[in-house]
């Protein structure tokens, strides 16, 4: 079982690779469609701007391979910006179209007096029990760094866990085989490791 970590020039990907090793998951950092086809699951990491991320996926001809693998039922995990591009669109620096795997849009925190970015350890509140959040309670903290958040068309069904930051910030989202994490599991100490272990079990 090997995981394809998609390399599309959106920051350092090694930390994700290293964290997967903690749960005995092999991974390769790649932009080769064949490797994506052969992988057991695909991870879209990402730090940076929405429009750049989509432009890079396009530039490296990764949009079709991603859509094809998701359609086949392969698990896709988006982390941070990689989660945001799973949605239909974003208003970060203009209107930009996303991958459209999960219905919803991405918008900036717009609450007077609220510190943005939401950069901190915050606790998860489980919205919908499922294997991916097995063992996770509101005592579990994960590390967030983001200025935009997802507004889902179907909060109740597609949000697995959220964090409270002036509003209910979607933290883990899932629609069928597509999962997103707004926080960084690779930077979230033992809770992050636990979630990656759950991911491994969901793949098997």
């Amino acid at each position: 079982m090997s995981i394809a970590i998609i390399d599309y020039d959106v920051g350092n990907l090694k930390n994700v690779h290293t964290a997967l090793k903690d749960v005995q998951l092999d991974s390769v950092i790649t932009r080769d469609p064949q490797v994506m086809d052969d992988a057991s699951a695909i991870i879209l990491p990402g730090v940076g701007a929405f429009a750049d991320a989509m432009a890079n996926l396009n530039k490296y001809h990764l949009l079709e391979p991603l859509k094809k693998n998701v359609k086949k039922g392969k698990m896709l995990l988006g982390i941070c910006l990689g989660m945001q591009i799973l949605f239909d669109e974003s208003s970060e620096d203009g209107q930009h179209q996303g991958l459209g795997f999960i219905p919803g849009k991405v918008t900036r925190f717009d609450v007077p007096g609220l510190t943005v970015p939401h950069m901190c350890w915050n606790n998860l509140v489980v919205n919908r029990e499922e294997p991916f959040v097995s063992g996770i309670t509101s005592e579990d903290y994960v590390y967030f760094v983001h200025s935009y958040y997802a507004v889902l068309d179907h909060f109740d069904s597609d949000v697995v866990a959220y964090a409270e930051y002036a509003l209910k910030v979607p933290a883990i989202v899932r629609k069928d085989n597509v999962i997103g994490m707004q926080f960084h599991p690779e930077k979230s100490a033992e809770t992050g490791t636990r979630l990656l272990r759950n991911l491994k079990e969901c793949i098997q």
Binding site: G11, N12, K14, N15, T18, A19, D22, V47, G48, G113, T115, P117, M119, C120, W121, N122, N123, E139, Y141, Y143, V145, H146, S147, E164, Y165, H184, E186, K187, S188, A189, E190, G192, T193
Partner: protein, 254 residues
């Protein structure tokens, strides 16, 4: 619930962690990779790593250590020391850092803050300020490792840093650094009230109560070095103590 953060800081010189008093009398302490790993496993909320040699020829050795530490830890990682261009940011970020701290170089060229924030995001840019109390009931910004007074007002500089796009301010008080008599509460309180970005208090931690005091006056995070490195205050104990003081903490599973 947002938590207050506890941040061990490692000063690295020629590949070893060192600790000085009031920026002088530097002593060798430990291997940065082992120390980093231990903090990550024992409840530290973030790790800060300053390259205090930061000479050009030492740069690759340092980047190599950054890579090894990043591999060993599972918490956010901030790098400072010798960062003066957006390209320097890129190098340490690619080596595994999450944030980059700038100090003297930003005083010299404030545009660096804006350029880096635009390229890598505000969350990436930590403005670190070395401040020392003057005779006029305010604080001056010092550069070059605390050796040179710029005459710039520290609070004004922090505000300017926020306006330029810094995501956090790390305020290191030269008066209290290394003497373990507590953080500069007044300075931290003023900054926390006047800025909206998080303030990281640095310099002066000697006992658990010092952490409680500075977090209660508004600092988002408290940074310390020697009390952690020498094992005087284990982080799990400190976090339990602070939780009892009603300060929100990420619990440590031990």
């Amino acid at each position: 619930m947002l938590t207050k953060r506890i941040i061990p800081c490692l000063d690295v010189d020629h590949g070893r962690v060192v600790k000085g008093k009031k920026f002088k009398n530097i002593q060798d302490v430990a291997d940065p990779v082992e120390l980093g790993r231990s903090y990550s496993l024992n409840g530290a909320d973030e790790l800060v790593f300053y390259d205090i040699t930061a000479s050009y020829e030492q740069r690759d050795i340092f980047l190599n250590i950054v890579e090894k530490v990043a591999e060993a830890i599972r918490i956010p990682f901030t790098i400072g020391g010798g960062i003066s261009t957006p390209d320097d940011f890129r190098k340490v970020l690619m080596a595994g850092a999450d944030k980059v701290s700038v100090n003297s170089s930003a005083v010299k060229n404030p545009q660096l803050i804006r350029d880096a924030a635009l390229r890598f995001g505000n969350q990436c840019v930590v403005l670190s300020i070395d401040a020392k109390r003057n005779d006029n009931a305010s604080w001056d910004v010092y550069v070059k490792g605390g050796r040179e007074n710029t005459g710039i007002d520290a609070i004004e500089w922090a505000k300017k840093g926020e306006a330029l796009g810094a995501g956090e301010i790390c305020i290191n008080s030269i008066d209290t650094d290394g003497v373990k008599q507590g953080y500069d509460l007044e300075l931290n309180q003023i900054l926390s009230e006047e800025l909206t970005i998080p303030i990281i208090a640095s310099g002066g931690a000697g006992k658990k109560e010092d952490f409680a005091s500075v977090l209660k006056v508004g600092a988002s995070a408290a940074l310390a070095a020697s009390v952690f490195h020498y094992g005087e205050i284990p982080i799990p104990d400190l976090k339990r103590f602070l939780s009892h003081q009603k300060l929100p903490m990420r619990p440590v599973d031990l």
